[in-house]
């Protein structure tokens, strides 16, 4: 646990019933104690995984850039721009952008617009479940400085305080063309070897976690979610 004082108190207050410590009868009749938060989740911290060989890494980065699997998770009003992106008018499949239904298999996380505190919790869990190298594309002015929700009681203002962001696409909302331009920018970054968000997250893990916990008051999940 990173932040003991915050956690122990909050955990007791907000813990879901399925995550409580309980006794379970095994098939052979003996009783065992189950602590879901420790037993069912990995407790290791994320590690920095440095790129190794420069030449090979350049080739692999090209492959990663040309095969961007986007997680089908819309967080705000911008998610309405995703359906036109993958349907005949804009057809992002031409550029190697494909949609995946599960965070385990996707590499790109599109934060599409304002991020409510409730959604931030899900975004953190989902982001941590993705397998690195992973990239974040932030849509709209809401993710940059809060936009029209700047003084809202229930949204965050700057996304890159909570998860590392690779490319911002400005606008309210950006059109699918702008989103495609954002994908091209992301490809350039990956090919240059500058899109190391997963490593950045691992390096500054404590800072990110403390920021996240300042916002998410009812932190009732494990600290790590992978």
């Amino acid at each position: 646990m990173i932040n003991e004082n915050n956690n122990s108190e909050n955990l007791n207050k907000f813990l879901h019933k399925e995550n409580e410590i309980r006794n379970v009868e095994t098939p052979d009749g003996s009783i065992i104690q189950v602590d879901p938060l420790n037993d069912y989740f990995c407790t290791d911290r994320p590690e920095v995984k440095e790129p190794k060989n420069k030449v090979i890494e350049k080739f692999l980065n090209w492959a990663r850039a040309e095969s961007l699997w986007v997680l089908g998770f819309g967080t705000g009003c911008g998610s309405i721009e995703i359906p036109p992106l993958v349907t005949p008018r804009f057809d992002a499949y031409r550029f190697g952008v494909q949609m995946r239904p599960t965070p385990r298999q996707s590499n790109v996380f599109i934060i599409s617009g304002y991020l409510a505190v409730k959604t931030l919790k899900r975004v953190i869990r989902t982001y941590e479940q993705m397998q690195g190298p992973k990239y974040v594309l932030a849509l709209g002015s809401c993710t940059i400085n809060g936009g029209m929700y700047w003084d809202s009681y229930n949204t965050i203002n700057r996304l890159d305080h909570y998860i590392p962001v690779d490319v911002y696409v400005a606008g309210c909302m950006p059109r699918p063309e702008a989103l495609l331009a954002g994908f091209n920018k992301l490809k350039e970054r990956i090919k240059d070897g500058r899109a190391e968000g997963a490593n950045e997250y691992a390096e500054k893990f404590d800072w990110y976690k403390s920021n996240q916990k300042k916002i998410v008051k009812d932190w009732n999940m494990p600290d790590y979610n992978w």
């Binding site: 692999l60 057809d91 397998q131």
Partner: protein, 301 residues
């Protein structure tokens, strides 16, 4: 023939089959895209996806069976390949086919499914469990008409060797099992629709319903292994049907043409028909395909 040279030819055949399978999956998605009015992925996308999947830096695991699931799956696919004669009359591309290879191949078809069920079960995702239970119950019913068709052919040709079945069909198109035993062919081609898992019978992966079924928790190299296996398996199942019903292939060109049309028989059906529910699918296989299979048996008994 020296075993080393033989192995080299097996690997060459595997390489060709793998690449043809990847190209076929790209063509399939291209056709789907054109039907939807899009251009779709580039033809080389499956290769890039594979490179990317194998090169991801993280890969978490859920336990031993989670590792072994894709291994079982790929050994099922490669197992079918190893005992399948690819080119008729070629001692180089007959792989390790022997007198009873048909029975072994029927067994290997189920082997991969079972391994995948164990592995995906350890992933712990509810959609995996739903996909597995659907997949196993559907595949069990597919096996019934398919096995009846295979038994009918075995009775017809008095052999369980695929090479001999192909040899018996040589000498003109009218000697193919398609014409000499049409009921067995019909039963098998209908159950093939389920084996390939395209649209009316895509309950296992069921896009937009239980996205994406058993491999929900599989990622990076695990998923890469599964995709490699899928490419091999699609071609090699088409080759099995080509050998049993469509006169085999005398060269690689013939193999590619025939396996393309056998595979795309299921794709074209899939473009037209919407998805069944699992109970509809199970009942469907136990009606007309089963009837055809029984008739095929009765004729040759």
């Amino acid at each position: 023939m020296d075993i080393v040279i033989r192995l080299l030819y097996v690997f060459l055949g595997l390489f060709i089959v793998l690449n043809w399978g990847l190209l076929m999956s790209a063509i399939m998605r291209k056709i789907g895209a054109r039907v939807a009015g899009r251009y779709g992925i580039p033809y080389y996308q499956p290769w890039i996806d594979l490179i990317k999947l194998y090169s991801l830096r993280d890969s978490i695991t859920h336990g031993v069976m989670f590792y072994l699931g894709p291994v079982f799956r790929v050994s099922g696919g490669v197992g079918i390949f190893l005992f399948m004669p690819l080119i008729f009359g070629s001692s180089y591309f007959s792989n390790f086919s022997f007198a009873g290879d048909l029975v072994l191949i029927m067994y290997f078809q189920f082997f991969g499914m079972l391994g995948m069920a164990l592995g995906a079960g350890e992933g712990g995702h509810p959609y995996s469990a739903i996909g597995i239970s659907r997949g196993l119950s559907q595949f069990t019913t597919i096996e019934v008409p398919m096995t009846l068709a295979v038994i009918s052919i075995a009775v017809q040709y008095h052999t369980l060797s695929i090479s001999e079945i192909v040899a018996a069909q040589q000498g003109g198109i009218m000697n193919w099992t398609l014409f000499t035993n049409p009921f067995a062919t019909a039963a098998a081609m209908l159950s093939l629709l389920g084996a390939f898992g395209h649209s009316p019978f895509n309950l296992v992966k069921a896009p937009n319903e239980i996205p994406i079924g058993p491999p929900t928790e599989y990622h990076s190299a695990f998923l890469g292994v599964l995709r490699t296996n899928a490419a091999i398996l699609h071609v090699i199942e088409a080759v099995l049907f080509m050998n049993l019903f469509f006169g085999g292939a005398g060269n690689w060109f013939e193999l590619i043409i025939k396996s393309f049309f056998i595979y795309f028989w299921s794709v074209f059906v899939g473009v037209v028909f919407p998805r069944f529910r699992i109970e509809q699918s199970v009942q469907w296989f136990l009606k007309i395909p089963l009837l055809f299979g029984v008739i095929a048996i009765i004729i040759f008994m």
